[in-house]
Subunit: 127 residues, 2 copies
């Protein structure tokens, strides 16, 4: 779906559910590397990066605070499942490249993706 | 929309766009208090809280890393606009109470809200 007239604030928020991941989802280093690589691929700037490991063999949560909004990853290794969100305020940033990097890092069998356009002065639109 | 059979992982991700906010959106203290109060209202546990102020009169970004996933706020004071997301993995946490607290804190004229059910073993559903 496209907006007409164009959105005054042209942001996109991607929610991606990675199912059947074959990567080690309990690896906090992997989550950190994935967030850094995805931010680089998007051309975004990391202001801060927070990570939390819930224990041996358990999930990891990571959030990158970006100059352009944020990216987050939450993993459930026992279900080979990771829930990601990528929110970037500006089409000049390559959110698709970031998602491709994340898919490469976690190697999911399937991705359920939602792309939501957000901005001021308009209602949110679901693509 | 409801899922049948029930989602094995019963999480909800709320994207809320606050338009016409009358609160001071350049107030980093307000953003911090709002995130803490919303987490409390949801019955969620804050693991870490990150805030960034882009400068005098400019926007604030805040992300609360939760044991139950995360909440984020990004503000654009020049447009009286704030983009929020609340992701909680479990219906025992009161996401509606959290959103009510945030609406009380930022006093928007209008809220555009999307609620997305997420979980492993199922495709994402948009309510």
């Amino acid at each position: 779906m496209t907006a007409s007239p164009p959105l005054p604030y042209d942001g996109r928020h991607v929610l991606a559910d990675f199912h059947g991941c074959t990567a080690r989802l309990d690896d906090i280093g992997l989550v950190e590397r994935a967030l850094r690589a995805a931010s680089d691929a998007a051309g975004a700037t990391i202001l801060d990066l927070n990570l939390h490991h819930f224990g041996d063999g358990q999930g990891v949560t990571g959030v990158a605070l970006l100059a352009e909004s944020h990216m987050s990853i939450h993993t459930w290794p026992e279900h080979d499942y990771a829930a990601l969100d990528l929110f970037l305020c500006g089409r000049q940033h390559n959110i698709d490249a970031a998602l491709a990097v994340l898919a490469d890092g976690f190697a999911p069998a399937d991705i359920a993706k939602r792309v939501i356009a957000r901005g001021y002065g308009v209602a949110a639109l679901v693509e």
